[in-house]
């Protein structure tokens, strides 16, 4: 109960973790996407800049 009563005190500290959570989430999502691409027998989608030759 004390924990809940002081939620305003500690919840603000969690905001410092938010950028980390977002970064890990994006990475995890990308890793999952790559794994699925590999499972389908293809390579992960790699976007190259137009000036760079493929291969």
């Amino acid at each position: 109960m004390t924990l809940l009563a002081h939620v305003g005190h500690w919840a603000i500290n969690l905001l410092y973790v938010a950028p980390l959570v977002v970064a890990v989430g994006v990475l995890g999502w990308q890793a999952r996407k790559d794994r699925r691409a590999r499972a389908r027998g293809g390579e992960p989608v790699v976007r190259r800049p137009p000036s760079e030759p493929p291969g």
Binding site: H6, H9, W10, A11, I12, N13, L14, L15, Y16, V17, A18, P19, L20, V22, A23, V24, L27, Q30, A31, V46, R48, P49
Partner: protein, 473 residues
């Protein structure tokens, strides 16, 4: 669930518990009320955005290595007398500090020793080294004393001294890492740290250890790998645009000196120790530790230990745990990198390969956490240099100088802290990107391999800002 995921979950859980501890607030040291336009946590978000933007910028605009193997150019000759002269000055100052510790007032603020050791030596020298190169090597008192002894012995014995043993490769920078941990323990844990005579004894003990190391393995090898402060300041100096030798001064690109560091065992441990112990300094001033410390202390008191010993044990545990958490964060980043690495390098190999990218982060943590100490407590040197023993002398006529706590505001200190953390982490990203380009050849692969390093940098930045905000609240 595999071991890596368990490790990751464990660190996330520990981090969440620490971060969400109730903010009952302990006013930290010298920092007063800050007047900020946005909440502090928003600075953390902004810093993360800067890091991501820097990462993207590096991927797009930095396709080839620019720092690794960058050439340096000779800009000036250094007179031969300068090295022994600066060494003599360093040694004389060391003797003065030790003498003041023993013979002077035992009140911390009235004695030269504590301010010189904890403020000038620990904080100012790394900052000076960042801009001017390895100045400590020139004024290193134990190196100067050893060189003088070696020179004298060579003159007296005529045949010279016996050749030292080869420095053991396995030892690497471990002695330096242990030395820095020991210094941090004295600074943050030891209850007698404010007693100048204790500091004088410890300074002499440290000097004795250096003499043993140098006599066994040679002056230069020991200074390069074993002398904690020589190694630490030397690493920081590698970021400087200047490099000194005994005969010449060279100019180079900032940060480029770090890219040719020889990664021997203990290098990662040394840098992690700097980041971890500084983190504990911030953490121990915050609300989370103020809740944990009394519990731990009473646990040891219940075991029959005295109050002082119990407190020291509790703080020792805190110091070690926080350092291990920082080590774990880096390890997680390296493990993540190894899952993307196309060459399939081991985590140990990757950890060593990217160790140099942690050096600017280590310095950023030191600047962020100790800037206020330097800005305020550093002013004590003005009166202590005239009255080093605190006995009323006035050698240079400055003994009546006082500390001006208004010259820099708490808000300005916060901005310096945030800037130090952001710049340090961006520098870390640059170095890691460079190393990835050299290792993997292709910019695309290099960028992909650095996703996890970006996460590590965001984690260290968020941790640093949270620690500062908690300590300043």
């Amino acid at each position: 669930m595999n071991r890596r995921r368990l490790l990751a979950l464990a660190f996330v859980a520990v981090g969440a518990v620490l971060v969400s501890a109730p903010a009952t607030a302990l006013a930290h040291g010298l920092v007063g009320r800050q007047d900020l336009p946005i909440p502090k946590w928003l600075f953390g978000w902004a810093a993360a955005v800067v890091l991501v933007a820097s990462f993207v910028g590096l991927a797009v605009l930095w396709p080839k290595p620019r720092l690794e193997r960058a050439p340096e150019r000779r800009v000036a000759a250094v007179p031969g007398f300068l090295d022994p002269l600066l060494g003599s000055i360093g040694l004389a100052f060391f003797v003065l500090v030790v003498y003041a510790g023993f013979a002077g007032s035992q009140t911390t603020t009235n004695n030269l020793a504590p301010t010189v050791i904890f403020v000038i030596f620990w904080v100012a020298i790394p900052i000076v080294s960042l801009f001017f190169g390895d100045v400590f090597k020139a004024i290193n008192p134990w190196r100067a004393a050893a060189r003088a002894v070696a020179w004298l012995a060579a003159k007296v014995s005529r045949g010279g001294l016996p050749a030292p043993m080869a420095y053991p490769a396995k030892l690497g920078r471990w002695p330096a890492a242990i030395g820095i941990l020991a210094f941090a323990w004295v600074e943050l844990v030891y209850s007698g740290r404010g007693d100048p005579s204790n500091l004088a004894v410890l300074a002499l003990v440290y000097m004795a250890v250096q003499f043993v190391g140098m006599s066994l393995y040679g002056i230069e090898p020991w200074n390069r790998y074993g002398d904690a402060f020589g190694v630490y300041f030397g690493l920081v100096a590698r970021m400087a645009p200047l490099r000194w030798t005994r005969t010449a001064l060279f100019a180079r690109k900032p940060l480029s000196g770090l890219t040719n560091i020889d990664v021997v065992p203990g290098t990662v441990a040394l840098v992690i120790t700097i980041i971890g112990t500084t983190s504990f300094d911030g953490f121990s001033g915050g609300p989370a530790w103020s809740n944990i410390a009394p519990e731990l202390t009473s646990l040891f008191r219940d075991l029959g230990l005295g109050q002082s010993t119990s407190l020291e044990l509790a703080f020792t545990i805190g110091l070690v745990v926080v350092t291990l958490i920082v080590a774990g964060l880096y390890r997680l980043g390296v493990i993540g990198m190894s899952t993307i690495d196309p060459q399939g390098a081991s985590t140990e190999e990757l950890s060593a390969r990217f160790a140099h990218s942690l050096v600017p982060i280590g310095l950023a943590y030191v600047v962020a956490h100790y800037f206020s100490l330097l800005a305020y407590e550093g002013q004590r040197v003005a009166y202590l240099i005239s009255d080093p023993l605190g006995n009323g002398s006035n050698v240079f006529g400055t003994s009546s100088a006082t500390v001006d706590y208004t010259w820099v505001s708490a808000t300005a200190i916060w901005y310096v802290q945030v800037a130090a953390l952001v710049i340090g982490h961006v520098a870390g990203l640059v170095l890691a990107h460079e190393r990835a380009l050299v290792s993997f050849g292709d910019n695309q692969v290099a960028t992909r391999s650095q996703y996890w390093m970006l996460v590590v940098m965001i984690a260290f930045t968020s941790l640093g800002l949270w620690l500062l905000s908690a300590a300043n609240s």
